[in-house]
Symmetry: C2
Subunit: 194 residues, 2 copies
DNA sequence: AACGGCCTGTGATCTACCTCACTTAAAAAG
DNA sequence: CTTTTTAAGTGAGGTAGATCACAGGCCGTT
């Protein structure tokens, strides 16, 4: 492992161990299955219609995952900043074609994990199976909250909650993308801010 | 274990083993941690503001999980029929107070699982940790699809997809509840059907 | 048979939000 | 520094869907 890769990996180890501690040997085994990749702004990690061999863990930078409707409008499923996981999970798990796009809103470094490697890791390292179980639970809870928010809150309240919950993200992301995440038009969001 | 309980449990075992096989000894251990409960139509399993000690697995019947807004309107997060899991996962995991209601749309039999028992099961039985990890992944994927659907599809298309994907459910559930699930008013849904 | 609930459909408004068009400002790209 | 691209605010007008109000149908109860 290169020095650069070690530094990158250290962040991932901390991230995992916040939930499920690893021995050095386990970490050594786990980290071997991630491959680092650098991307420039506007590069795609996933494109609709393509296979999705990897799950991505963001070391640095900022991604957006979005669906495009027949009018060409983007609807943002998820942003992913440092220490977030992101991929088209449906296509990834079922080894089918992507239904969404994922691209870089800023230059990014990511760690890539193949499905079969994830399964190997979970099979060999008990703590990692636990990690992914808990991580997945937390993700499920977050999505439930978003669905409730979409169903019962008016646009203004959804916007307020977003700013309160992810102030750093709201800074970093152009407002038109926040609109696409909240499910309102750019113009409406602009008017809401008063 | 009573005969009745054995029969009920058999369904759960099949459900689990469809994802992750168990030895008889493991199943014996696992099943001990579930407690059966019967409920009448309109009874609550979870009420907003109360603690949420259990995750529920539906043996028979039909639940709805919903949030209520300030106007008293219901927004349905999830239906749960036979073989579905349901609870307020946020409150359950964090042992905090429920943000939603869950009640029986029909008379129900459920199996109840305490958080600490779920963790015990996952800790003791490797196959169960795998089961919950995979189940949770699948749930996450389903919620991602629903979010994309809410963001990019007009009400009519959401309704069509719902009927295609869950025809049995759409039969069983009063249409006003389908409307509350889709995020449209009862009247609008009625007009859409033409 | 008659009563009260609950569900569903339908007409008549009303409104939150969308779309289109234009302007200004700021940031990349050259 | 200049040009091109991208972001953001604002006005005018349109529309999907909300809300309100009422009517008929289908239960299970008395």
């Amino acid at each position: 492992m290169t020095t650069a890769k070690k530094e990158i990996g250290a962040g991932l180890r901390r991230h995992i161990e916040a939930i499920s501690p690893l021995t050095d040997a386990e970490w050594e085994f786990v980290s071997r299955h991630f491959t680092p990749r650098k991307l420039r702004k506007h590069q795609y990690l996933v494109q609709q219609g393509d296979p999705v061999p990897y799950d991505f863990w963001v070391v640095s930078g900022l991604l957006k995952a979005y669906a495009v409707d027949e009018d060409g409008k983007e609807h943002i499923l998820q942003f992913a900043m440092e220490e977030w996981w992101c991929t088209d999970y449906h296509a990834y798990q079922t080894e089918s074609k992507a239904a969404i796009f994922i691209d870089c809103m800023e230059a990014c470094e990511v760690l890539c994990l193949r499905l079969r490697d994830r399964e190997t890791i979970c099979g060999q390292v008990r703590a990692m199976e636990r990690f992914f179980r808990i991580k997945s639970n937390l993700g499920y809870i977050a999505l439930q909250k978003r669905i409730i928010s979409l169903l019962k809150e008016p646009a203004e309240e959804r916007f307020g909650n977003l700013i309160r919950q992810y102030p750093r993200l709201a800074q970093r992301v152009p407002k038109k993308h926040l609109a696409a995440y909240l499910g309102v038009s750019r113009e409406t969001l602009s008017r809401l801010k008063k």
